[in-house]
């Protein structure tokens, strides 16, 4: 990581500069060990294509998504307004997020509270870079012929109709792409959304991520591409639960992009 420069907005501002884009890391991306790797990979991509970016660092706080979806609108709006204040101090215009929940909340729910930014998810950024020819699939690990399936995060797909961007990022891999029987708008939730991540599931016959695992097994994919840190956790637990750690890998679209480009 030493070669990747990661500056905070505060550091940028102190140097009298404004970055092109603010990278909103999110709580999972900041604290969850597995998601931290994705965070670093997103930085590598930004760095590789030469986009000037910065993070908020210790000034970032939870967007309020889990609070809002659990019904705590007070806490959500407190978080939102404090975050908006910080973002506005730095004159933020464009934000890329590493998490569909942050993406959805800042893009859709912050404007009503005075926070207006152009918000994109990291898979959309990757797609744009591919479209512009700034990002290719060369120089690194080959995915040729490997069977990859993609799991749609609810807050990216159904929530915001982003279905193509992550697929586009995988299409350039020359891999064997397969869809699960439940995909796109019909995709099955990983079980983490709506604050479920932070509580025990209600009683039922099985956990949702195990149900999803069955779709994955049926697809016979050896790599499951994810685009959300929560999906990542749930899918990995599913893989563990089915004792398939040797056969099936769960990788974020950003990680795959980093690997194929040898970053």
């Amino acid at each position: 990581m030493s070669e990747v420069q990661i500056l905070t907005m505060a550091e940028m501002a102190a140097a009298g500069k404004e970055p092109e884009i603010l990278f909103w890391v999110g709580c999972a991306g900041s604290f969850d060990e597995r998601a931290q790797r994705i965070t670093r990979d997103i930085c590598k991509i930004l760095n590789h294509v030469g986009i000037s970016f910065a993070v908020l660092g210790t000034e970032e706080s939870c967007t309020g998504d889990p609070a809002k979806r659990a019904g705590n609108e007070f806490l959500f709006q407190m978080q939102a307004m404090m975050n908006i204040q910080v973002l506005d101090v730095y004159n933020t215009k464009k934000i890329v997020t590493g998490c569909p929940h942050c993406f959805n909340t800042i893009k859709n729910e912050y404007p009503g509270l005075g926070g207006n930014y152009e918000v994109i998810h990291h898979t959309q950024l990757i797609q744009q870079l591919i479209d512009e020819g700034r990002l290719k699939a060369e120089g690194g690990e080959s995915f040729k012929g490997r069977r990859i399936t993609y799991h749609d995060p609810c807050y990216l797909g159904r929530g915001n109709d982003v279905y193509e961007a992550p697929r586009k990022a995988l299409e350039i891999l020359d891999a064997d792409l397969v869809e699960m029987k439940r995909c796109r708008s019909n995709g099955l939730c990983c079980g983490a959304g709506g604050a479920q991540m932070f509580k025990e599931p209600e009683k039922g016959t099985k956990d949702i991520n195990i149900e999803r695992m069955e779709d994955i097994l049926e697809s016979k994919a050896t790599i499951v591409a994810a685009a959300c840190p929560f999906c990542m956790t749930m899918l990995r637990d599913g893989v563990k639960g089915k004792d398939k750690e040797q056969e099936i890998q769960v990788l974020d679209v950003a990680e795959i992009t980093v690997r194929v480009n040898g970053l």
Partner: protein, 432 residues
């Protein structure tokens, strides 16, 4: 003459009763809170044309889509014929459109007959599918006796109506061939012609059959019309306004509660003076805390179960069923409506949607994935009701599950749902 008078009395009574019941549903819907859905009329008309008129969300299940299309198109087009029956009934005429329409009339009748057969096929298929084919979508805790028989009644009534229509035409056609009375030669009867051999040859008997079926058909239709307000079949009317008033925002966007915004602004900035707003409850405990749109959706629900069949919570055996959320909401607002009818405007009882109808276990099982919202063929949003009720439980009662309270505490104190220090937020930069 006597026939005409009886007909007009029946017609007037049917229309009066129907408007009265529709009026009640309208009143019940308006017991909901206000919400503004008047923006963007262009987009709204377009959505209505696509989703309600064009049935665009039905195609996900092609078999059901085709069968439903038969019934839908049949219903819409056969109404031209119903119009003729109404005119004939009021003025004592017979096939009044046959003269002015000439050749076109024959084509129309031919078309109606074919549609009638398609409707019959679809209804019989649906009956078999519901009662013999063990489709999971049609069972479930909320599909108790009434919703099950409601669906069957609708199908049986439609079968009877179509059979009466074809028998009436068959008898009519035979009478035409006999040059009997006022039964003038009118058009093609491609399907009912085939039924001819099953009917007697005597003109008087044929006339009795024709008249009998005519009255049965039209009284049946008027009775059916008055059955609608009590049935899920009411969707044939409400689907259109309901889709028109759809949520046009991205599905992931939840409403920001304005009342909360005021309080939060005042907390963050003591100099902020909020506009005086009416103090209402945070979230929904009962149906009257929901918006009129939520209530309109409850009356629009067709109980098709597409929402429930894609719900991840439901599929993994949890108690939650988005269809039940909609049916409970409708049952509860209907109950309040009845109370108002009997006891006046200020009627109150000691029941609420929360707990008496929908349990907390159901509410907490939802992952807010929007699968139900996406699946609904008439753009109903069960998730909004779930969220509103969670808001009540959390903000008014402080009764969130303990683990969620922990999460709230962490967000409030550490700025993250986990118990990590905000100072460690950039630690990811160093590791690996």
């Amino acid at each position: 003459m006597i026939g005409q008078i009886i007909f007009i009395i029946i017609l007037a009574a049917a229309i009066w009763l129907f408007s009265k019941n529709v009026g009640k549903i309208r009143r019940n819907i308006l017991l909901g809170r206000d919400t503004d859905r008047s923006d963007n009329p262009g987009e709204r008309w377009k959505t209505m044309a696509l989703v309600a008129l064009g049935q665009s969300k039905m195609v996900k299940r092609p078999f059901a889509a085709v069968m439903h299309l038969f019934i839908y198109v049949g219903f819409v087009i056969i109404n031209i014929e119903v119009l003729e029956i109404l005119v004939d009934g009021v003025f004592g005429s017979h096939r009044v459109f046959s003269h002015p329409l000439g050749g076109l009339y024959g084509l129309l009748i031919g078309g109606f007959e074919i549609l009638a057969v398609l409707v019959l096929v679809a209804c019989v298929t649906f009956l078999i599918r519901r009662n013999i084919g063990k489709l999971k979508r049609f069972s479930g805790v909320e599909m108790t006796a009434w919703p099950k028989s409601d669906a069957n009644y609708i199908l049986i009534i439609e079968i009877l109506l179509m059979t009466a229509f074809l028998t009436m035409n068959a008898a009519d056609h035979k009478l035409q061939l006999l040059n009997f009375g006022h039964y003038i030669k009118a058009g093609n009867f491609p399907v009912s012609d085939l039924l001819g051999p099953l009917l007697p040859d005597r003109a008087s008997a044929l006339e009795m059959i024709e008249r009998g079926c005519w009255w049965f058909h039209i009284i049946g239709i008027l009775a059916f019309l008055n059955y609608l307000p009590y049935s899920k079949h009411f969707h044939i009317l409400l689907a259109f306004p309901n889709v028109y008033y759809s949520n046009l925002n991205p599905k992931g966007k939840f409403t920001n509660m304005a009342s909360v915004t005021n309080e939060v602004k005042a907390m963050l900035d003591p100099s902020f003076v909020p506009e005086p707003a009416e103090v209402s409850r945070f979230g929904a405990k009962d149906v009257t805390d929901l918006t009129w749109k939520n209530l309109m959706e409850a009356y629009t629900c067709t109980e098709c179960g597409r929402c429930t069949s894609v719900c991840p919570a439901n599929q993994t055996g949890k108690l939650l069923s988005p269809r039940k959320i909609m049916m409970d909401t409708r049952d509860r607002i209907t109950e309040i409506g009845k109370g108002i009818d009997q006891n006046g405007k200020d009627f109150k009882d000691d029941k609420t949607l929360l707990d008496n109808y929908i349990t907390r276990e159901e509410l907490w099982a939802c992952t807010t994935c929007n699968a139900c919202v996406d699946a609904c063929p008439v753009n109903i949003n069960p998730l909004e009701i779930i969220t509103e009720m969670r808001r009540y439980v959390v903000m008014e009662e402080s009764q969130a599950p303990a683990s969620l309270n922990n999460m709230f505490g962490n967000v409030e104190n550490n700025g993250a749902p986990w118990k990590y220090s905000a100072a460690d937020r950039l630690n990811w930069k160093e590791e690996s």
